[in-house]
């Protein structure tokens, strides 16, 4: 709410200053794959649809929830949440927003044809009931605390577009009607997306008259376009260019920590792990002392300083401290190669063993270089390392199910996790909980780590509606899993955006890594 007030204030202050039509040009790393907000549940699409559409609940730059199309929400009993909707909101086509649009949206969103990643995730097991035009009830079978977070992920479309609306109709603009700050104008795939100010926006006048978004995937070209003044604002500033841009008086950088942790996952379900040699068929990663030794052998400060050029933060848990459900008690493991060697000797590997680290080379910031650094650091304490990196298109399939019987193929992998919900339950549920396909747990638990004590805490937390209690349970689960080294966290990614000083813009860095025009403000 506060952000909207400041935005509105900024808009009023600058309304006089920029009387002429101002077009803000944006150079984007990743282009959305459709203008249909329910077609593809992935970062670039969700970021863009938030310009044109809104959910009942919005997330601010730090992923704190704030009122959107709902003015308030609360659980009225163990299994029912009540949402009071905002009155007097109009869609871009002038039609009135009310509960029918909400019900319509939640029926359509999980059932978009050909969707490669469905929004059903957030709607499964929930039913919705219209109480009156501006009250909606969401009902679940069991107590469900994540209701507001889940519904903050689904933007509302107008029921006027009809039941059989297709993704193509959104792409052409015919059905691209939302309540958001900007109206959709035109999309030329691969070339430009045009949006313009929604003058009737309920939260005050949006900052820019017109916004032209250009996808420029190539890193040096995107930076060059900014330097040349062809665009006013870019995202995903490559770490290698940050030093140079800092010295340029025309450029303003803004960077912020993300909800993404880069971590190592270890094979915990095979006695004879395929990429480990010299252990007579034993899996050393099942020994806590070996995991501890690996964690101690990694110099996180050095990775941050050298590989990441200072643009990252050493990690000790699943989400940066301060996020919901993190623990104050777990800290990043300090670098201690002597201690690591000692632990390895104690565990019965005084001469180490052989191991291969696998990782992607086009997914996370500097991913291949991080894998190489880890390889060198572990070699230094006596583990004979090999490093293998590959394109994400090959890596993730193998890492999840490339082995016999669709088991994970590798022994020791470098991966990353962004907690879209902004609370630790996201990572705990998917990475740490024992894999249980039926209950939807551990889908990305590629090491098959399993700890009944942690599982119990996670399940308990996910059934606790009381925020304070749930936060405590999540923190407890985090502590146990981290002390047991279910994964080895390396660092939290820091994202950087850059604007041109002449354009008078500043980006408020978002922890969800999204590039949204709503977070771009005039200085």
């Amino acid at each position: 709410m506060k952000r909207i007030v400041t935005l509105a204030a900024a808009a009023i202050v600058f309304a006089g200053a920029s009387a002429s039509a101002q077009t803000v040009k944006v150079g984007l790393f990743a282009e959305p794959s459709a203008m249909d907000p329910h077609y593809h549940n992935l970062g670039p699409n969700n970021a863009f649809s938030s310009n044109v559409y809104e959910a009942l609940i919005l997330q601010d730059e730090n992923q704190k929830l704030m009122p959107g199309l709902a003015v308030s929400w609360k659980p009225i009993n163990d299994t029912t949440w009540e949402f009071k909707l905002r009155q007097g909101v109009k869609f871009h086509d002038g039609s009135e927003f009310n509960a029918d649009d909400v019900i319509f949206t939640y029926e359509r969103a999980p059932n978009v044809p050909n969707s490669p990643s469905s929004f059903g995730t957030y709607l499964k097991g929930k039913s919705f009931k219209k109480i009156d035009d501006f009250t909606v009830h969401a009902i679940t079978e069991k107590p469900y605390p994540l209701m507001p977070v889940d519904l903050s992920q689904i933007v509302i479309i107008s029921n006027e577009v009809g039941k059989d609306v297709t993704t193509s109709q959104f792409n052409s603009g015919e059905a691209a009607i939302g309540t958001g700050q900007y109206k959709f104008v035109e999309w030329k795939p691969g070339d430009t997306i045009l949006i313009e100010r929604n003058d009737n926006y309920w939260g005050g006048k949006p900052a820019f008259e017109k916004v032209e978004v250009k996808p420029i995937k190539s890193n040096p070209s995107r930076v060059a376009a900014l330097l040349a003044g062809d665009v006013d604002f870019i995202d995903n500033v490559p770490t290698a260019d940050i030093e140079r841009l800092k010295g340029d008086s025309n450029i303003v950088l803004s960077s912020g920590i993300s909800n993404r942790v880069i971590y190592l996952h270890m094979d915990r379900f095979r006695d004879d792990s395929p990429y480990i040699t010299g252990t007579n068929g034993k899996n050393p990663l099942n020994d806590l002392r070996v995991r501890k030794a690996i964690s101690k052998a990694i110099n996180r400060e050095a990775i941050v300083a050298r590989v990441m050029e200072g643009v990252a933060i050493p990690a000790g848990q699943l989400l940066p401290p301060g996020f919901f459900g993190t623990s104050d008690k777990v800290k990043p493991e300090p670098y201690d190669p002597e201690g690591a060697k000692k632990l390895l000797a104690e565990a019965g590997y005084p001469n180490g063993f052989g191991m291969t680290i696998h990782g992607p080379n086009d997914r996370y910031i500097n991913d291949a270089k991080i894998a190489q650094a880890i390889g060198q650091m572990l070699t230094r304490v006596g583990i004979d390392m090999k490093v293998e990196t590959m394109p994400k298109s090959v890596f993730f399939s193998s890492a999840s199910s490339g082995g016999p019987d669709k088991t994970p193929k590798y022994s020791f992998i470098l991966v990353g996790w962004g907690s879209g919900t902004g609370e630790a339950s996201s990572a705990l549920k998917s990475l740490i909980h024992t894999k249980d396909s039926a209950a939807g747990f551990g889908a990305s638990n590629r090491g098959r780590y399993s700890n009944p004590e942690v599982d119990k805490l996670i399940e308990q937390a996910l059934a606790t509606v009381d925020d304070a209690k749930r936060e405590m349970l999540l923190a407890q689960a985090t502590e146990i899993a981290m002390n047991d080294l279910g994964i080895i966290p390396l660092h939290y990614q820091v994202n950087t955006w850059a604007t041109r000083k002449a354009a008078g813009l500043k980006y408020l860095p978002r922890t969800d890594e999204r590039t949204q025009i709503g977070s771009l403000v005039k200085e």
């Binding site: 969707s115 490669p116 795939p189 070339d191 070209s221 060059a224 330097l227 062809d230 993730f396 996201s426």
Partner: protein
């Protein structure tokens, strides 16, 4: 004659079919698109649902028959990423690529031929020597590096050309062209030069060699003896005879200009086919990759078939031996 053509047609169809098999199965061996396209916070059930939505739950050979059945009706599948027909996506981006390749081809000719002929007619002057030695750079410098350097110099430092993207377009015959507007031309300039560099160098060398050879021919001597002006000799007699190998080679090069525009399109964020195909490969958008390759196969097979037809019309021996 008809027997020959029928046989060639059958061969062409067989080639297309074999290529369809190779392309389809080859593309389907690598990775699993769902792993790339799905939101990381998926559950197992959603994963299975996404696999079904993309039609990947069927055994590979059944997927192939579905693909084949649709392909016969002119439908090469729906893109996993964009959710639109693959052919439509390619067709949308085709004009941008053709425009870029055409501009590069134009530059290769108008810059390459005069420079090469000059270097050929005055082989010992220092200008000629520097033309020839700088053409080596055109061959040897990597396209992406030259592209970035051009952006740095002309867009960032001098600020006279836009760095990336395609400029304003105008609609002619239902297709958007950017070379008809000034803004579009400024956007086209750097990518076109970048893409043309190798070919300019090639044309310089070809026309230089051709000129040197033609200059020594008897008919040139005869023309001189007849008292024709040097200007007329060069622009008519030498030029015509030099152009023969240049045209042959450039014809072949046009195909590779369209195919190798990938690098240039990526560096300059040019919204063409090359950029689409490379991005589709990166995220395993199989229908788009398959459609692109099948179109290429179809193009080459039909060109070859037409050439065979023309051969048989021109050369009776082909018809006769074919009938037997």
């Amino acid at each position: 004659m008809w027997a020959y053509l029928t046989r060639r047609l059958a061969q062409a169809i067989a080639v297309v079919f074999v290529m369809a098999v190779i392309v389809f199965f080859g593309v389907n061996v690598i990775g699993n698109p769902v792993d790339i396209l799905i939101n990381p916070e998926f559950t197992e059930a959603e994963y299975q649902e996404a696999i079904r939505a993309l039609g990947l739950h069927l055994p590979l050979h059944e997927q192939f028959f579905v693909f084949l059945g649709n392909a016969l009706e002119g439908d090469l599948g729906i893109s996993f990423v964009w959710g639109e027909p693959a052919l439509q996506l390619i067709a949308q981006r085709l004009p941008a690529t053709l425009e870029l390749a055409g501009a590069a081809m134009f530059l290769s000719i108008v810059l390459g031929v005069p420079l090469g002929m000059y270097a050929g007619s005055k082989p010992h002057s220092w200008v000629s020597k520097s033309i020839v030695s700088s053409s080596i750079l055109g061959f040897s410098l990597p396209t992406f590096w030259v592209g970035i350097m051009m952006i740095m110099v002309f867009a960032v430092m001098l600020g006279i050309l836009p760095s990336t993207g395609r400029g304003d377009t105008v609609l002619v015959f239902g297709i958007e062209w950017s070379f008809l507007t000034w803004n579009g031309l400024t956007h086209l300039a750097m990518p076109a030069v970048n893409l043309a560099l190798t070919n300019i160098a090639l044309v310089i060398r070809l026309s230089r060699a051709g000129t040197r050879e033609v200059m020594l021919q008897d008919y040139i001597k005869f023309a001189r003896a007849k008292g024709l002006s040097q200007r007329r000799i060069t622009l008519v007699h030498v030029l015509k005879n030099t152009l023969i190998p240049v045209v042959t080679v450039l014809g072949l090069e046009l195909g590779s200009l369209i195919a190798f525009s990938v690098v240039t399109e990526t560096v300059f964020a040019w919204p063409g086919m090359g950029k689409l195909i490379i991005e589709s490969i990166q995220v395993l958008d199989r229908p788009v990759v398959v459609a692109y390759l099948m179109l290429t196969v179809l193009l080459f097979v039909s060109i070859n078939f037409l050439v065979d037809v023309i051969y048989s019309l021109l050369d009776p021996r082909v018809r006769v031996s074919g009938a037997r």
